[in-house]
């Protein structure tokens, strides 16, 4: 997002603000554009992109800013989804969860709960994983995420392998979430809020510590920073964002399954971050848009779309240096900031 101090020159920062406002207006107008051009499916696709952008941006806080290469991000995403699914199931059956937690179909209840539960899970597993670093950290986050994946596969009470159907989207007061465009705007609003939060965080004192940890943990210790607790809080915030995205996705798709937690989903989120530009604010959103857009477009052409997508991604990452954000820099004239 806007970074007035670093851009130097009020003109450039004003231009950036303007570009951002135009982009936001376009995104807000997207359902109308979709209807006008006779492509109503575009709204649903855009909803998916907006939701995955939240998940990717939250992974980016850990991966891009703090240098924590978590390969289990889909776990928190899936946990968020399952909170919605399980609360829906209990809402329908009328039986309280664990005998005392009533089900719910209210977004204002399910969403905060999904964020909270994803945060709790990431706190516990983060506290353990962060005792390691480097390749071990990648492997242990992957292992924990796969453990959760198999847990939900085995959880027959909630559909096991087949997943759970959420027959109707969670409700919001005064807002009809069952309407496609309306739900898109709801998701867009959450995404804007999440990106604003990320923008504040990365420029705050906390964010500066994260960037320092990425560049030299040894240096951070030498200036008196106990790095573990900062990494853990970063990991938890990152997990909460994924929980939010998962809960929105469960509502959008009206379906949750263990696939949400599968390691390929973690990989896809990583690709979005790296493709868009790790450690850049809007990069993950761009990465989500391009990856999902390409997947959809290529799949419409051929069933062997992955054979095209794979090499395409490799080329894009190889030649843009820093993903799409790097590409944007090259286009703007190679400014190095």
């Amino acid at each position: 997002m806007v970074d007035p101090l670093k851009t130097g020159g009020a003109q450039r920062s004003a231009l950036k603000l303007l570009a951002l406002a135009v982009l936001l207006a376009l995104l807000a107008a997207l359902p109308f554009i979709a209807t006008a051009t006779g492509q109503p499916a575009m709204t649903s696709l855009a909803t998916r992109i907006v939701i995955l952008a939240i998940a990717a941006a939250s992974l980016n806080l850990a991966l891009g800013y703090c240098g924590l290469v978590s390969f289990g991000h889909a776990a928190w995403y899936g946990v968020g989804g399952y909170v919605v699914g399980i609360l829906w199931r209990h809402h329908v059956s009328g039986e309280p969860l664990f005998g005392f937690i009533p089900g719910s179909d209210q977004l204002l209840v399910t969403l905060p709960l999904a964020i909270l539960v994803a945060g709790l899970f990431s706190a516990v597993l983060g506290a353990l994983s962060l005792r390691t670093s480097g390749v071990q950290f990648i492997m242990i986050t992957l292992a924990f995420a796969q453990m959760l994946f198999f847990f939900f596969v085995a959880l027959k009470a909630y559909g096991g392998d087949d997943g759970l159907i959420v027959r109707r989207r969670n409700a919001l007061p005064f807002i009809d979430t069952r309407d496609g465009p309306t739900f898109y705007w709801v998701c867009l609003a959450f995404a804007v809020a999440w990106f604003l939060l990320m923008w504040r965080i990365v420029n705050s004192r906390f964010g500066k510590v994260l960037a320092g940890i990425r560049q030299s943990e040894r240096r951070m210790a030498a200036i008196g920073v106990a790095t573990y607790r900062y990494k853990l809080v970063c990991f938890i915030i990152s997990g909460m964002g994924a929980g939010l995205a998962g809960a929105l996705m469960a509502n959008h798709a009206r379906f949750v399954s263990p696939d949400m937690l599968h390691w390929t989903q973690s990989g896809e989120l990583m690709i979005m971050v790296i493709l868009g530009g790790a450690g850049t604010l809007l990069g993950p959103a761009a990465g989500a848009a391009v990856l999902i857009g390409l997947e959809t477009q290529l799949a419409a052409w051929t069933e062997h779309w992955q054979a095209i997508l794979g090499p395409l991604l490799v080329l894009m990452i190889l030649f843009t240096r820093g993903g799409l954000s790097g590409l944007a820099r090259l286009v703007r004239g190679g400014r190095n900031d």
């Binding site: 420029n203 510590v209 030299s216 210790a221």
Partner: protein, 254 residues
């Protein structure tokens, strides 16, 4: 000479550290008084950097005691020791290379102000960070270079930045690991000036190969060979010590 009646700021008693068959620290005892410059010299591989690592808590000693300002610190973590007033520079610079020189120092100032769990205010406009950071940069001779990224700084400037960062930690004892290594003549002079200005204000343990610098700055000198201190005394005593001349000083002069 420094007053010796008081308790030393740093007291190391019978420190041992072994890596496999190599004894890196062998029954090492040493103290540094407040405001004193204590130089630690010795040939390459004598265990000087390992010793600093143990003082900072980056390497755990096998045996021995380290006390700082009357308190045992040998079980404390590195950040906890830094909070008590110890700070080190790195022989091979350890900097945040994607940030500017100013940001590196501002982060050290921030770390000195307590915890950093502040998520919303913009740290880049925080005058309580930037103003002290500018001062420390100037004290290290980098007043004009604050806005430059570390990756674009020269080797000498990075060494100066190391110094500015430890100054930001407001240490009571500074552990300098070869601050002169790799510096050109002009850069060396600037560094010596900066160190001379600091002398007296904080205790300094100076690990250095440049004998001119050591004899110019040190109140006391200890000579480390194979992890063991073979001599300790005033610069004059060390210069006159036959054992030292044979083991170390002689190497260059003979």
């Amino acid at each position: 000479m420094t007053e010796r009646t008081a308790e030393p700021l740093l007291r190391v008693t019978r420190l041992f550290k072994r890596f496999g068959g190599v004894t890196a620290t062998d029954d090492l005892s040493l103290d540094v008084f407040a405001g004193e410059v204590h130089a630690l010299i010795g040939p390459n591989g004598a265990g000087k950097t390992t010793f600093i690592g143990q003082l900072m808590g980056e390497i755990a000693p096998d045996a021995g005691e380290i006390s700082f300002a009357g308190e045992r610190i040998d079980r404390l973590s590195t950040p906890a020791r830094v909070r008590r007033g110890l700070a080190r520079t790195f022989q091979i610079t350890e900097l945040l290379t994607e940030e500017t020189a100013l940001d590196n120092v501002a982060l050290a100032v921030q770390a000195g102000q307590g915890h950093s769990f502040r998520f919303f205010r913009d740290a880049r406009r925080d005058r309580s960070l930037l103003e002290p950071a500018h001062e420390h940069l100037a004290a290290a001779g980098l007043a004009e270079r604050g806005g430059v990224r570390v990756s674009a700084l020269s080797h000498g400037e990075r060494k100066q930045l190391e110094l500015a960062i430890v100054l930001a930690a407001r240490p009571r004892l500074l552990l300098l690991d070869e601050p002169m290594a790799g510096l050109g003549a002009a850069e060396s002079r600037r560094m010596v000036d900066a160190l001379a200005r600091m002398k007296g204000g904080v205790g300094i343990l100076l690990v250095e190969h440049d004998m001119d610098v050591v004899f110019a700055l040190a109140d006391r000198i200890s000579v480390l060979v194979y992890g063991r201190i073979i001599a300790s005394g005033t610069p004059a005593q060390i210069q006159a010590d036959p054992q030292v001349r044979a083991a170390y000083l002689g190497e260059g002069d003979a």
